[in-house]
């Protein structure tokens, strides 16, 4: 399924990018623009939904949350829809999209494999097992504040990644090849456990499927509060590794000669990305394609420099998932469309397009 060590697919482009000429400071404007675009997308999403609320009223309701600003005179239902339903939903979708996308970029950077994505080494399967065990247990599964589901999914994800890592260890280091293979094995194991439980506890099948499909229909401020610290901290800690990831694209041995502690980088980068992904998955379920497609898009448009790739992936991922969720909640008059369907509908054709492009580029150098 995976070419374990793709022929350093980004290395060629890397040389063109001439990274030395790019300083952190020169990147600031692009960060700012991306942040602004994401903010605009968020505002648009908040003012859009199946219930028509005039944008002006939405603005007044939002501004009315600030101290000293009078809230306009609007129906209480509007205010509830905007502030309690739409805003947490948009914020959560944005956070999850950002987390999955920058984690995907980090995974692709470490594995140097275009197929790498944040679910590669067991996060998704582990989280599913954790969530499923809670759903079939007598523990209350609520959409509310004290739901045991997110912590269980989080724990499951970390356990799975931990197992994959242990299995892949040989001697001093962990080779990316064996990590991918053990990740695939752990994922299959987790998936089979979930499938078995789903078919055994048939009265919970729907709940399990629902969780696995993922989405933001039950988004609350609580969930955004759960995710925010992980998303922000892991993202901030990953960013300083951008240069090292650039060097890593050349070749592991060469990176070692250049003084990079490759094993440590792998451990830290994959650890942070997995932690962030686990947190995202625990509050949103499994949403595919974001972590795969968004970093590729950024790389195609803005080049392979990780100092650009990581933050821009986060912003584009946020915008992409906010947009997808807006479609999910408004495409079908009051009925929810599974967001995984939307991201896959966009993601799968795009991915095929990417593959074709790459194949052509190889045939005609």
């Amino acid at each position: 399924m995976l070419e374990a060590r793709a022929e350093a697919p980004f290395a060629a482009a890397h040389e063109d990018a001439a990274p030395r000429l790019v300083t952190w400071r020169s990147l600031a404007p692009s960060y700012g623009l991306a942040a602004l675009a994401t903010l605009l997308m968020g505002l648009f999403a908040v003012s859009w939904g199946t219930v028509h609320i005039p944008p002006l009223a939405v603005a007044e309701i939002l501004l009315g949350r600030l101290p000293l600003v009078p809230a306009g005179d609007h129906p209480a239902t509007w205010s509830a829809i905007v502030w309690d339903i739409r805003v947490p939903r948009v914020v959560l979708a944005g956070l999850v999209g950002a987390t999955l996308a920058y984690s995907g970029a980090a995974y692709q950077g470490v594995f140097r494999n275009p197929l790498a994505e944040p679910y590669l080494i067991g996060v998704a399967a582990g989280a599913s097992v954790g969530a499923t065990l809670v759903i079939i247990s007598p523990l209350a599964v609520t959409a509310g504040v004290l739901s045991p589901l997110p912590p269980a999914a989080f724990a499951g994800a970390l356990v799975a990644v931990g197992i994959a890592w242990m299995l892949a260890r040989a001697g001093r280091g962990v080779s990316t090849v064996s990590l991918i293979l053990s990740g695939v094995a752990v994922s299959s194991l987790g998936t089979s456990v979930v499938t078995y439980l789903m078919l055994t506890y048939t009265d919970r099948t729907l709940s399990i499927l629902n969780w696995v499909l993922g989405g933001f229909n039950t988004a609350t401020w609580t969930r955004t509060q759960i995710l925010l610290p992980y998303a922000a901290a892991c993202g901030a800690l990953l960013l300083p590794y951008a240069r090292t990831l650039n060097v890593l694209q050349l070749d592991e041995d060469e990176a070692r000669r250049l003084g990079v502690n490759v094993e440590r980088v792998k451990l830290v980068v994959l650890g942070l990305a997995s932690l962030a992904t686990a947190a995202a998955v625990s509050v949103s379920g499994l949403i595919g394609f974001v972590g795969l497609v968004v970093p590729h898009t950024v790389r195609m448009v803005w080049g392979p420099d990780h100092r650009r790739l990581l933050p821009l992936s986060a912003f584009l991922g946020a915008s992409f998932l906010i947009a997808a969720d807006t479609i999910a909640r408004s495409a079908d008059a009051g009925r929810e469309v599974p967001i995984g369907v939307i991201t896959a509908l966009v993601g799968a054709p795009f991915f095929l397009f990417l593959l074709r492009r790459q194949q052509r580029a190889r045939v005609m150098p």
Binding site: G49, T50, V51, A76, T77, A80, I81, W83, D84, I85, R86, P88, I135, L139, A140, V141, T142, A143, G144, V145, M198, L199, T202, D203, R204, T205, L206, S207, I208, L209, N210, L213, G215, N217, T218, T220, W221, R329, S330, D332, A333, G334, R335, E336, P338, G340, V341, A344
Partner: protein, 318 residues
């Protein structure tokens, strides 16, 4: 797209499981003891239509029935034909005797060999999962396939009772049972006949806002009660998933929870952010309902109708 399908399948399965359980109503049966029972011999051989367009002919009353449907199991008990049961499916939990039934088989991943090994002379299938119907046909095991998805109304339940009556040689008792259920149904619908503007209802199947639309079997109950289901016809989808936004905007007068066993409660609904503006929350009109009773096509469906009538119109049925 496969994911949508599997969700819906999962839902259908879950609902099917619940639906099947709800069937056997001991109360309505006990009243029929003094009525004349037809001689089974007279009603065989009998030819029954299956949902897949084929027919099944039974030469004699089956003595070793395997019921892969909790709803059918409830009906078989209600018809007093439980003596001919050889096995029930593992979701069967009503009546108690069905729950305690010594031989159980899995209806979702049916093991053909295990079923055939029971040497059944009739297998009742409501959900053709895993190609079980074709597999049993190949083994020449008599299969009565009555697709659960085709039962979308209470009348469909009555048909189901009649079908099982004919299959088990208890048609007379089946007619009596249907008549008794219809009388109770009429008592309810008669009392709400003058209602033109019933309450708006949101029926919650799970905490991610799956609901039952007019196109579903559950929706038929609300239609009979002249309630206005906020899901409408669900765009033809019997079990659509609503957005919270749509629920709040629809402002239901009554919320019915079929997901209390999943930890949703009246209090947790009240605590949902933004829901304090919903009429049902303000007026404290949130009710629980047993999901098995309300979603299994069986005799207990009228229990569900009566319970909902009390919840929706306390002034009429209090």
């Amino acid at each position: 797209m496969t994911r949508t399908r599997s969700t819906r399948l999962g839902l259908a399965l879950a609902v099917a499981a619940l639906a099947l359980l709800a069937a056997a109503c001991g109360d309505s049966k006990s009243g029929s003891g003094s009525r004349p029972t037809p001689t089974p011999a007279a009603s065989f051989p009998v030819t029954l239509d299956r949902s897949d367009g084929k027919t099944l002919t039974l030469d004699a009353a089956p003595q070793r029935i395997v019921s892969l449907s909790p709803g059918a199991t409830e009906i078989i008990y209600a018809l007093g034909a439980e003596g001919s049961l050889a096995a029930v499916d593992n979701q069967a939990d009503y009546p108690q005797a069905a729950k305690d039934f010594p031989t159980k088989v899995d209806a979702y991943q049916p093991n053909v060999e295990a079923i055939a090994g029971l040497d059944p002379d009739l297998v009742f299938v409501a959900t053709d999962s895993d190609g079980i119907v074709a597999a049993l046909d190949r083994l020449h095991v008599p299969v009565l396939f009555s697709d659960l998805n085709t039962v979308t109304t209470i009348d469909g339940v009555y048909d189901q009772i009649r079908l099982l009556g004919r299959a088990t040689g208890t048609s007379g008792r089946a007619e009596d049972l249907v008549a008794a259920l219809q009388a109770r149904e009429r008592a309810v619908t008669g009392a709400v006949a003058d209602v033109s503007d019933g309450p708006r209802v949101y029926h919650e199947l799970d905490s991610t806002f799956y609901t039952a639309s007019d196109a579903s079997f559950i929706g038929d109950l609300y239609r009979l009660l002249h309630a206005r289901n906020i899901a409408g016809d669900g765009g033809g989808n019997p079990y659509p998933q609503l957005t919270q936004e749509a629920i709040l905007a629809a402002n239901p007068d009554v919320i019915v929870l079929a997901d209390e066993e999943f930890g949703v409660s009246v209090d947790s609904v009240k605590a949902r952010p933004g829901w304090d503006e919903v009429a049902a929350v303000k007026d404290n009109r949130i009710y629980g309902v047993d999901p098995d009773v309300i979603s299994r096509p069986g005799p207990r469906i009228i229990d569900a109708l009566e319970t909902l009538a009390k919840d929706l119109y306390p002034e009429k049925f209090g």
